[in-house]
């Protein structure tokens, strides 16, 4: 059993660069096992870069990314995935040259304990109907999002990085995604969510971190949300 006092994911002084541009300037935060933690912030605050840096998908990074007590800052993206972290990228990353089924089966199983296909279809009944579709990108935006989340549930990864899963989707689909995230949390998944929409985030998150200019500038728990709404409006410019 994992030490309950140690966070599942501990980020310390994380810095990241894309080529010459320095995007993250020392990010610090923790995610405990079974939590849903949301990164909030304006466009360009460094939320997506934080997820990509955890996953090893940026050009250069430094600092510390500890997952299950293991340092991953020197590891390549494929090794980080094998450690048990999976990402659902903002642009969803559905492959046009792969069928829906191939997209779903693409990420290799890295650990035991992932969801079976039937469990995934229980969460996303639409996916089962579209399984025969020849091209993953012919699905609707909502279906593509479900496919992008569904395919990483098979892998056995226990930490899911979800980058704006509600972006550009209809309210009814957003509700379904919210329901799914709560169901995944009940099943013991740990989720680090990036959102602009804190009303949606408030339906799923345990805690929030607010980012600005590549740093964490504030944090609070879901219970403190109401007390912080004013401040949040200020941070997010809404």
């Amino acid at each position: 059993m994992l030490d309950v006092t140690a966070p599942l994911l501990a980020i310390k002084d994380l810095q990241a660069w894309y080529g010459e541009s320095h995007i993250l300037h020392g990010v610090n935060f923790d995610v405990r096992e079974g939590e849903v933690v949301t990164l909030l912030g304006r466009n360009g605050a460094g939320k997506t870069t934080t997820l990509k840096s955890i996953m090893g998908m940026v050009g250069q990074r430094s600092g510390s990314v500890r997952f299950e007590g293991r340092e991953l800052i020197g590891s390549a993206a494929n090794q980080i995935a094998r450690a048990g972290i999976a990402i659902c990228p903002e642009e969803r990353g559905i492959f046009a040259s792969l069928s829906v089924e191939e997209n779903l089966l693409l990420p290799p199983v890295v650990k035991a304990g992932g969801l079976s296909l039937n469990q995934i279809f229980e969460l996303f009944p639409n996916l089962k109907e579209r399984l025969g579709s020849s091209q993953g990108t012919k699905l609707s935006g909502g279906e593509q999002q479900m496919l992008a989340i569904g395919r990483i549930l098979r892998t056995g990864a226990r930490l899911l990085l979800l980058d704006e899963p509600t972006e550009g989707l209809a309210p009814v689909i957003i509700q379904q995604i919210g329901k799914t995230i709560r169901a995944l949390k009940e099943q013991g998944f740990t989720i680090l969510l990036v959102e602009q929409n804190f009303r949606f985030a408030s339906t799923v998150a345990d805690r929030y971190y607010v980012m600005e200019h590549g740093r964490i500038i504030d944090q609070f728990a879901n219970a403190e949300l109401d007390a912080n709404v004013e401040k949040l409006h200020d941070y997010l410019g809404v």
């Binding site: 998908m57 494929n78 995935a81 990228p89 990353g93 693409l106 290799p108 990483i152």
Partner: protein, 303 residues
């Protein structure tokens, strides 16, 4: 024996059927090599974004490897058909690790220039040691002779080349389009960073893909050894046509490379029968037309 005539509108020329089928056969054999080579180029371009100009030299290396293996270790054709592509494929792996991997972030032009330079070096070395006269490589005993099909004589070795090439092309297509490994390859062609973030060692896959593409060229080279002379310039003569084939089929399209390779071999053969004067240029004329009408190639997806 019968004659076949063109419609009057195309000149009304009549030719004996043996000439027609003979040229069709030569067309299919040339097409076998076009298909194997353009398939290798398409596979490499898809994964590495590099236009492998040393493909012709690597085809030549395959033929020389078969020749040298026979001379110095008495290795017969059938074993060489497996061993030579593996050896040449390993040199491809080294080239990718030592040189090509540094070029992926740069413009296509750098990969093209580097592989073109490599081709010149490889050819120069071969010419230095073996001269340019060409070396003989005999048809394996089991494939000597041929059979009379009634309307023409079919040499066994040439029939084998067509069957072997079609089989290897189909197997490659099948692996890429219908298997899990192929799904990784196709996905990594689209978005290598994400495939890597799913836990796949994409750099290693790229290295092996280049090695495989080069091995395909060497395989074609071994098959060519008994038909054409084994000579340092055998690749550079062929590769220009193969590049035209790739452009017509569409860069990076697997099926396109295969079908265009065989198809253009046949078109070239037919042209030799009916308009011999145009047989050397017909492929380039088709290339020019395709570029005007469908710049992405017949099977290419628009970028």
């Amino acid at each position: 024996m019968f004659e076949i005539c063109l419609p009057v509108i195309l000149g009304g020329k009549c030719i004996p059927s043996t000439a027609l089928f003979g040229q069709l056969l030569i067309g299919l054999i040339n097409g076998s090599f076009y298909a194997l080579l353009s398939l290798g180029l398409a596979v490499i371009f898809g994964m590495l974004n590099i236009i492998n100009f040393s493909h012709g030299a690597q085809y030549m290396m395959g033929a020389f490897a078969a020749y040298l293996l026979l001379q110095f270790s008495g290795m017969n054709y059938w074993v060489a058909l497996i061993v030579a592509p593996i050896l040449v494929g390993v040199t491809g792996v080294l080239i990718e690790r030592l040189l090509l991997q540094w070029l992926y972030k740069l413009d296509h032009l750098y990969g093209l220039l580097l592989t073109f330079g490599l081709a010149l070096i490889i050819e120069g070395v071969a010419r230095h040691y073996f001269g340019s006269a060409g070396l003989p490589y005999t048809v394996p005993e089991s494939l000597q002779g041929g059979r009379n099909l009634g309307f023409m004589f079919l040499p066994n070795y040439r029939a084998w080349v067509i069957v072997a090439s079609a089989t290897v092309c189909f197997a490659t297509w099948f692996v890429i389009e219908r298997t899990r490994l192929g799904a990784y390859l196709r996905a990594a062609t689209e978005n290598p960073a994400l495939v890597r973030a799913f836990g796949i060692n994409v750099p290693r896959m790229i290295t092996l893909t280049y090695g495989f593409g080069v091995a395909l060229a060497a395989f074609a080279g071994v098959m060519a050894a008994p038909i054409y002379n084994v000579s340092p310039q055998m690749g550079s003569e062929l590769i220009i046509v193969v590049f035209a084939v790739v452009v017509i089929g569409g860069m990076g399209s697997i099926l396109g490379a295969i079908l265009t390779g065989f198809g253009l071999g046949v078109v070239e053969g037919l042209t030799k029968v009916f308009f011999p004067e145009a047989s050397n240029t017909v492929i380039f004329v088709i290339m020019a037309i395709v570029l005007l009408v469908r710049p992405a190639g017949l099977f290419g997806r628009r970028a």
